[in-house]
């Protein structure tokens, strides 16, 4: 086999050992993205009756719009993770490693290398995104939803624009990041920046609207959002910065640190022979403090995440274990996942409602919502009238076709366990999710895996720091 790699071909390979392997992996990634988006769509559908339907209706609908909308976001997240994981192959850290120095010495031109790198990365991003997009549409086709073509090109462009912006921003930042770990942080920061831009410039309001997205020109309407003009300006500026900065960086040999070979107990100072001023430029004693910070932060993050996930699981098990007469109370509060719409709009379906545990002396007023027990079943209803030890209660919302007043009850004061004190819609949705198979896996399996592989995780971060 005769090796005839050009720089462009080498860049197309990204982190893989062969061009064919790389292309296969890209296709597999695209397929995975499509399948993952499709699967996530089904997971989201299990949370249909939760706060998500009010906050992000665009991902809850039975339409191509929702699956594709999910896909364009999943693609962005995947690319960020991919960029962070393979940072040293995709971006300009090779200049810092002096790989370009070697190539320039061997006759390569830095300007051409930049252009090749830029187009190879953009091509790979577009290829994976486009194939994944098509896969998502084909999979959605199986659901037999009404196929509306008009919003698909708009969604495609919206997702592609974000990806290209994240890519070029990450490329630009990589020219300024001196270490790989910093470069990875900057890549994450690029994605966060694009996300913030989209929110502040009103881009989300446009792309979340299924009707307006049917017109491709809505995307570029400056009156609605200046995201695209701003994005294009940023991209052009970044391209120019990348070109000049990469050429400029490539002119110089990048000096690795000398810390390892400095004699122990000695400090290295630079003395200006004219002024006599001393400047400390190296000391072995000071080495390693950054590494220790990285270690500490990683350890703390892992501990916090594992503890939070386990605590959350414990909390869910407690709530699920609540039975009439043996309700779980946390500091005098009974958490209760409300699974009907009978108290709407005060308490929505699948909200996590809090009830203050009370004793028999507690004065219950009319209009309060109470948690009471009847025939070993817990009910939540509003107090209509009070008469001594007797409370007349009823629900707020009768479902359509049901008989109004059917749920009116008279309960004794002793049967009341708690008084409604508030609710949390997001926690309710989270508990709902945690009770699904995917939720169980995420909240139980991920901490377990992290605990098991903590050693490898430390090593990974340490290697990055070095």
């Amino acid at each position: 086999m005769i090796y005839k790699n050009s720089y462009f071909k080498k860049e197309l390979r990204q982190a893989y050992m062969g061009n064919k392997v790389s292309t296969n992996r890209k296709m597999a990634s695209a397929l995975f993205l499509g399948l993952f988006s499709f699967a996530l769509y089904f997971v989201v559908q299990t949370l249909q009756k939760s706060v998500l339907s009010d906050v992000v209706p665009e991902i809850m609908q039975a339409s191509y719009f929702s699956t594709v909308y999910l896909y364009i976001h999943i693609a962005a997240v995947f690319n960020i993770i991919y960029f962070i994981a393979y940072y040293d192959y995709l971006f300009f850290s090779e200049i810092r490693n002096n790989s370009w120095y070697l190539l320039i010495q061997m006759g390569y031109q830095p300007g051409i290398m930049f252009i090749a790198k830029f187009f190879a990365l953009m091509y790979s991003v577009i290829l994976i995104y486009s194939v994944g997009f098509v896969v998502t549409i084909i999979l959605t086709f199986l659901l037999k939803y009404t196929f509306i073509v008009s919003y698909l090109p708009t969604l495609y462009l919206a997702g592609l624009g974000d990806l290209l912006l994240i890519t070029i921003l990450s490329m630009t930042f990589s020219l300024y990041a001196k270490t790989v770990i910093n470069g990875r942080y900057w890549t994450f920061f690029s994605a966060a920046l694009v996300f913030v831009l989209k929110i502040t410039l009103g881009q989300y309001a446009i792309i979340s609207n299924r009707v307006s997205m049917q017109n491709i020109f809505t995307l570029f309407d400056v009156k609605l959002s200046s995201y695209w003009p701003v994005g294009v300006v940023i991209m052009m500026a970044c391209c120019l910065i990348c070109l000049f900065r990469s050429k400029n960086l490539a002119k110089y040999y990048n000096l690795p640190t000398d810390a390892a070979i400095l004699p122990t107990g000695m400090e290295l100072v630079e003395i200006d022979s004219k002024t006599g001023k001393q400047k400390l430029i190296g000391s072995k004693a000071k080495q390693g403090w950054r590494g220790r910070i990285v270690d500490t932060v990683t350890t703390l993050f892992l501990i916090v995440f594992i503890c939070a996930a386990l605590a959350f699981n414990f909390f869910i098990i407690l709530i699920n274990a609540s039975t009439p007469g043996q309700e779980v109370t946390i500091r005098g509060v009974i958490p209760f996942v409300f699974s009907t719409s009978t108290m709407q709009p005060e308490i929505m379906i699948n909200d996590l409602a809090y009830f203050q545990k009370i004793d028999v002396q507690y004065p219950i007023k009319e209009g309060q919502i109470i948690l009471f027990e009847e025939n070993n079943v817990l009910f939540v209803e509003r107090v209509i009238t009070t008469k001594g030890n007797q409370l007349n209660v009823d629900i707020d919302n009768y479902p359509p076709m049901s008989q109004i007043g059917a749920m009116k009850k008279t309960v004794t004061r002793q049967a009341v366990h708690g008084v409604y004190s508030g609710r949390n819609r997001w926690l309710g949705a989270l508990i709902l999710f945690a009770n699904t198979i995917v939720g169980r896996l995420l909240f139980l399996l991920v901490p377990a895996v992290l605990l098991f592989y903590q050693g490898q995780i430390y090593k990974y971060f340490k290697k990055d720091y070095k």
């Binding site: 005769i2 090796y3 005839k4 990204q14 192959y89 061997m106 390569y108 000695m266």
Partner: protein, 321 residues
């Protein structure tokens, strides 16, 4: 190449701006008053007690770091004011991270030399043959990410050998070389010198200097205490003439000392080293004869081949005194 510049490096009284500071002591220049001349097609091994001093000297030589005092000229062209800038005539290797980890060794070398106007089939054949000749055939299809840093450095040196740079600076004094890699470097050095280029190696490995270099320079406390050919260095500083090996060598040491009053006898483990004190020519045959005449028949007697390592130790001993 025949009529190209002959003087590759000319250093006169070079002193570094960097100083070592120990506690409250007066700062000491890392390098002080270095004068060195390196000519075309020579291979220099720079050795010394401090890794940092060796590295800094080569960095100054390659225009990577500035110097405070003195004069320095590269390839008879003077020195660039801007430091670290890429110079076509200087190929500097200061780390082993230049390789791409998603390629194998042969593929990387082909990629590095892709701009050469040579038929790719012929070029690959040449490179492959070179890799085999230098004894690294087993690495030719190994992915770069599986190589040790020393192996990576040698692969980088091969790429440098193919470049058009007249001077290659191999500045990795902290690297530990095994015999296979030392032989490989020695072979690459021959290849480099055949092409009329100069190689400067920073190392504390005396065997590497002995096998690969034509010249050596030794640094101690920031000053050059020797510079010249490896041959001169070995012959002048390795004073051990004969090595006697025997389990009972300690018992006969006193007796032999009386036999050789004009020599210095040092015993170590089961060996006794007979070293000359002056600089006069030694008759090894006479020493051998005297030992046998004394009635002592050791397990082995050998004429010391004069190594760079012994010479280095002797030089250091002289300077410590």
């Amino acid at each position: 190449m025949k009529h190209g510049p002959q003087r590759i490096v000319m250093m006169e009284g070079i002193s570094s701006g960097e100083h070592f500071l120990v506690g409250g002591e007066i700062p000491r220049r890392v390098l002080d008053d270095i004068t060195l001349s390196i000519r075309k097609a020579e291979a220099w091994g720079i050795n010394g007690t401090s890794l940092f001093e060796i590295r800094l000297l080569l960095e100054i030589m390659a225009n990577i770091r500035p110097y405070d005092r003195g004069k320095c000229a590269l390839i008879e062209r003077g020195m660039m004011r801007r430091k670290r800038v890429i110079l076509r005539h200087v190929f500097y290797i200061g780390s082993s991270e230049m390789l791409y980890n998603n390629m194998n060794v042969l593929e990387f070398l082909m990629f590095a030399t892709a701009k050469f106007k040579i038929d790719k089939v012929v070029l690959q054949e040449q490179i492959f043959e070179l890799i085999i000749t230098i004894g690294l055939g087993h690495l030719s299809l190994t992915p770069n990410h599986m190589l040790t840093r020393e192996e990576k450095a040698v692969i980088t040196l091969i790429a440098a050998a193919y470049s058009d740079s007249l001077m290659i600076v191999f500045n990795l004094p902290e690297y530990v070389w095994d015999e296979v890699l030392i032989d490989a470097i020695a072979q690459i050095t021959s290849f480099i010198r055949e092409r009329g280029k100069t190689l400067i190696i920073a190392t504390q490995n005396c065997l590497l200097i002995e096998k690969a270099c034509s010249h050596t320079a030794i640094l101690q406390d920031g000053q050059l205490i020797f510079n010249g050919t490896v041959e001169d260095f070995r012959l002048n500083f390795d004073k051990v003439e004969v090595i006697i090996r025997d389990k009972a060598v300690h018992a006969v040491r006193e007796k032999l000392a009386l036999l050789f009053p004009a020599y210095k006898l040092v015993s170590k483990d089961d060996s006794l080293m007979i070293s000359s004190i002056g600089s006069e020519t030694i008759d090894h045959g006479a020493i051998y004869k005297k030992i046998l005449e004394s009635g002592f028949t050791p397990d082995s007697i050998e004429i010391n081949p004069k190594t760079v390592e012994n010479a280095y130790k002797e030089l250091m001993r002289q300077h410590d005194l």
